[in-house]
Symmetry: D3
Subunit: 250 residues, 6 copies
């Protein structure tokens, strides 16, 4: 079956995550579009709060199916192997906990206490296409959290955590464990792991070019011929711009 | 974790499926409601065609996540272990193939050829919360098929078959392998396997009572006092009614 | 408050319902549009079954609000004053039972037994923006039933019947008790009671004209100038057409 | 009919509202879930503005049905008994005005002027599953307002205020007059009046425990064994924690 | 701008439409998917009625924008240049009238009279992502009609016909005038005109193969190795199958 | 055809835009409602950011249809006549760029670079019923931007810019070139150009009255009799209020 190679077989370059952390999701969306990936933006989620929104890290997945009275009594969390609690305690440092809630935010998928534990354990962030409860507390965290909305009901109301580490859907996008999750003010992009190195590399030049274009626009240059650079001298000016910035970039 | 016991550990009484085949989904919905199961009706699916719609059998599950260019090229089906094809060839006789398509019917989850193969292999039916292509052919089958709607695009457009035999969501309901799927003109109910025997048993009396009530209503009896039977003589008349039918029932 | 006058204060002409029974919902929609009524079509409902679909009669209303565990136990129907059962037993002969289910068809609002009782009691039809359970039985009735779809779960799952005879919403339209409900293959229109006489009267001529236009079109006349009749001789031909039919109309 | 007892027959303990004002909607959602109330969160509404969001008080209900040209001319508000205006002038001090707009926010249900009047009259807050116009002004009020979104069109465009003081639906939840509405940053919970005392009482301990857990998490304690407190010494530490805080709590 | 070449510059092979008329939308969807066209199925429309559903022909487009009181009075149709009436009188013989109603079926886009006129004028069919009024009459036509649903309100209620012959959206898909519309029981595919010849050609072989596969499946052959034909002897058997049918195909 | 007169034939009074800039969308919605315009609020868009939100200017329209692989390759923007780029360079000073994205915000319709160019060129604002990418940058602009939400994917993913200067739909409302777009914290109203002068004129008095009413409410006056001013002395007090403000108004 043409599934992606397992994450552990795909080593990333050491600078890939750093480079991606300087890229916007818009840039990455364009680079993925070029490669035929048209459905890589997690639909329906936004950053909670207005604090730090830049998030980058490999996906650590938690899947939910609909709750049922026999599987989701209020005592469910007393089980030491409840997948939600296990995920919170085992999500690797630097990873992003990605939760599949079938885009149903009528109940929560986590709250401030679990999110705080994840932050302390060094998670890079959380993405859920369900709700977040006690969201005011969550927005005060330093760790970025992307979710559909605030939602007070406990996850037991709607979501039964069923397994960890499987490929899932989140916001209408396939997420394989180890895929790179990139978040900013626009939302979250899923970068297939085997493409992360080349996307990261291309993003450096592309971000530099976008910064140059914005400067040009701010000084009054029209966008036709500039963006994309179909006028020959645009690329020349960009070369100068880069030369001037020199060591600053990357 | 409070998951249901595995299907293989829950043996059904020999008459359970036969009894359920004579029960309506409406009756089963009420019996499940009594036990606190309020979310057991597969939302958004209907029988294709107007032929045989009564379906009963244990769930055999196939899960899809969103498609991606690397995992879903047109050549994907050439792989002998493609889960969709494997599911069609391994779904046990008498079982119902239940497919999780995240309630997205903008593409198909199967077509006439695969459905015909399932019928020939003795499947009891198919339930999908995605689309069915070549649906005119599918409606002509003897095997009941419940789906969201006809949809021409190949599943590769939207759905990547990822695994078989795991608990899934279908139409907003949890389906564990081995749960009993019951379908009729109203749609499909999911009966948790550990409740199937007792639901089947109770359904016999309840269907008999509903038949009695319908007869009473047809001869002009008001529903208050009759349905439910709060008038003392209603139960008496029902006893007579059953006595008369005698051996016919169950 | 500018509410409509109570139904009992608005007497209908004796031929109004008969005339409306010969009008299509499309014709009535146009006549209401002329008077500024742009939101009079019950959205999201269709006739169950393919039998008789022509329905006309004054609205008798039943309102539901969301269910709650304390108000909707399985024993709820044992109460003799349960509004759903009372509505079924008190809906006047010739009236249409109209149910407000907040356009939520994930559960039923009635089933075959209650619908059969309504038919026997002489109701003119049923309109629900919720579901109908045991719908195969319902489609076999002679009384027209318009609903969102078949849905097996008991109404207790989602809908608490709360009162009878109040103004309600159904399919996004205001329905005041006594408003005239007209149904056919297109669905259901709500005619404000104070307009019913004049709508009925105008519909006679309009239906006659539509029949004439269809004949003209079938013999090859272009629609421009014919429909609407901006060519002077169109009205002349229509006059002849009517003269020929003579006593047949109305 | 199994309706809740009338509000006036259910007296609340004097400290119930004060206690609830210190509880989060998430805590209350869990306490209601324990009692089988799975649908008590008003879906689709959020606090307007970022100011005070804590709201608690008994529900005072206003119901709307769809507007119609005869019932909703621009002059409608000139009637002294227009239910919206009456509601604004009669909503009791300390009560929450709850409006049923059928989850349709394409038009407003109130604006800054009426909301200001409610604040001056001492209302505890407003909940609407419709829109709010002139929302910038509304966000500056001290009184919390929960609604679907800002929406400029006058309510006459879509909503006809029809009655006051009846049980309604709001955001998909049943609201009976006198039920306790609790709002915070997550949204709004509806507490059935007959449960308010016991929910309030339990919330004191639960909030104390959540505060203790958050402290523990912040100092590095894993959540398994802590939350819920399945490790024996967790409860011991909690006892110490409470002893230390002593008189501070409640 | 990379728009498609105008329809009049792309001549079709004489057998293209005949071949497509024998192809299913499912087959064409797969052939388009192979070429990267993943969004070519008109979402949300279905054939009205159960009669002839096979439709093929070039698109003739009519665009609507939302109605307004000044542009859509009841007298609007009296104008001889009203685009809807003009479209009905000028749609070329053999063409398919495709209407953009912004996927809003709360009002109609046409009714039986106009559809009958189109049939008489030789149109190949009609596709609308809005409603159809007087739909019972429409289902009795010989000309296939694909629409969202029956809907009684006149188009003036919601849709203002604004122009003819421009590229439009229909059911979420781009339709350029002259694109080939193919309809059957599954719905409608849009074939970009410049691909029609090659899609038609490939469809002949593919339909033949699908027919062969169905026969094989009916005689008990498993789908793995057969569909797609990865077993070497599958293609051999298919060659024999075709040889036997000989002149029957194409 | 009853289309509006072309924008160039309708000259506005010189003070119309200034007056509208002081009016709220709520006020304008009421004034349009009075004239029968019930669908003039752009549904589903909100101001990006919390900065300046007051926007007024004539509409300059850009229409999109769904993207296709042949029309929307990544190189599409290299064409000097790409309508999106042309629109950005030709949108007149003081005009509002209004984009029809079929209410699909799963991809962007513009990003910070193009929006900055528009600001520099003197556009009065932007309205899109699609997404905005790089939205954090966009929220920092001085020019108001109203859109459905932040969305990282390039417009090529979903939207093909097809033409400029035609009547379009935006957020479910008809927008003719030259119609006056008014935006504030509630969202955006579309004022038909031929009504702009009289709406502007009436808004002056109405805003003055609303300001007076708010003052009255703040000092404790009940709304009944005040708003609308059915008490005779309300108008008297308003006259005094205006006399006192004197030259301040308009």
């Amino acid at each position: 079956m043409p599934n992606p190679a397992p994450a552990e077989t795909i080593t990333l370059r050491t600078d890939t995550l750093t480079r991606l952390a300087r890229a916007s999701t818009a840039t990455v969306a364009t680079l993925l579009f070029k490669r035929g990936y048209q459905n890589a933006f997690v639909q329906g989620v936004a950053p909670l709060g207005t604090g730090r929104q830049t998030m980058v890290g490999p996906a650590y997945t938690l899947r939910h199916i609909p709750a049922r009275p026999d599987t989701d009594p209020i005592t469910a969390f007393r089980e030491r192997d409840h997948p939600q609690r296990v995920a919170v305690e085992q999500c690797p440092e630097g990873a992003v906990l990605v939760m599949d809630c079938r885009q149903d935010a009528s109940a929560a998928s986590a709250g401030t206490i679990l999110l705080t534990r994840l932050q302390i354990r060094g998670a890079a962030g959380v993405v859920s296409d369900g709700g977040i409860r006690d969201a005011t507390g969550a927005t005060a965290l330093d760790m970025p959290v992307f979710a559909a909305k605030a939602s007070a009901p406990t996850n037991l109301t709607k979501h039964h955590a069923i397994d960890i580490g499987l490929p899932i859907a989140c916001g209408g996008v396939a997420v394989y464990p180890g895929d790179i999750m990139l978040g900013d003010g626009d939302g979250v992009m899923v970068i297939p792991r085997h493409l992360a190195d080349e996307i990261a590399e291309e993003s450096v030049e592309m971000e530099a070019f976008e910064a140059f274009v914005l400067e040009e626009v701010l000084r009054g240059v029209p966008v036709i011929g500039l963006y994309p650079p179909t006028e020959p001298d645009t690329l020349e000016r960009f070369a100068n711009h880069k030369a001037q910035r020199g060591s600053k970039a990357d």
